[in-house]
Assembly symmetry: none
Homo-oligomer: 134 residues x 2
DNA sequence: AAATTACTCATACTAAAGTACCAATTCATA
DNA sequence: TATGAATTGGTACTTTAGTATGAGTAATTT
């Protein structure tokens, strides 16, 4: 804001161009500040994307790093749940298949997610295939 | 440009606010057009990035499309969403990645699910891998 | 015997996913 | 020019997924 005001002051040669059409001056101001706006917008969006990019690469790094250092050991039941997930089954369908309640399936899910260090079943599927668990 | 001029004309109540400080008027014009500029800049950048994204996916698409059946025909965008799904991204993350709203991601999701005749994203991932779409 | 691990089930939540509508824009094509 | 496909965005809603927490049981290990 301070910069904008400063620029406005610098441009303020309107006393010298008073003889010119005031419309022309306004048009120039409008165009200049449109340009400033465009530039600002691009800068803002760039910064936002950079932050997201850093976050993503960090996540990707963590995943691949853990792959080599930790041997992820899932229990039998967790592996069964994970396998069923990769087949596209819902929690309820997995529960029916394994003759357990949906609550138990959710417990196994949550546990295997934290063991695999993922947040969603789709990530678990992808990661477990990378690790050769499935 | 025509729009800018038109807006300028609409704003042109300077005859009525002549009694007010001309600096105030200029400040308002500057702020408004800065806002317009920011918006324009964001829109321009969005469009640019989207074109780049499509180019990339087209390259990837050409590699896989030749090899496999076109019985299930997904649109470009649907394939992009599907691929992102298989990478374990949430709808919100896909939206951010493709520079579209989460609503649009859901629309694409729902459409590709019915095209693949599945009910969940996990099934879509499994089936599309069977079909060689991914 | 005590501790640990795996498995089970539950409640009560929040978050995400998915569906069903609708509507506007763009773009290629009949 | 009109028509349809693709893309985008929205509201409102239901369903599923996921988290946090607690707790009981059986088997194994220390």
């Amino acid at each position: 804001m301070a910069i904008l005001i400063a620029i406005l002051k610098i441009i303020e040669y309107r006393y010298t161009i008073k003889k010119f059409d005031i419309d022309l001056y306004l048009g120039v101001v409008a165009i200049i500040f449109t340009g400033i706006g465009i530039w600002t917008g691009i800068q803002l969006l760039k910064r936002k994307e950079q932050k997201e990019g850093i976050t993503h690469t960090n996540e990707a790094f963590d995943q691949t790093h853990v792959n080599h250092s930790d041997k992820v050991l899932l229990s039998e039941r967790e592996k069964e749940v994970l396998l069923s997930m990769s087949e596209g089954l819902s929690n309820q369908e997995i529960a029916d298949k394994l003759f357990i309640s949906i609550h138990t399936v959710k417990t196994h899910s949550s546990n295997l997610f934290s063991k695999l260090q993922v947040k969603r079943r789709t990530q678990a599927i992808q990661k477990s295939k990378e690790l050769g668990i499935i």
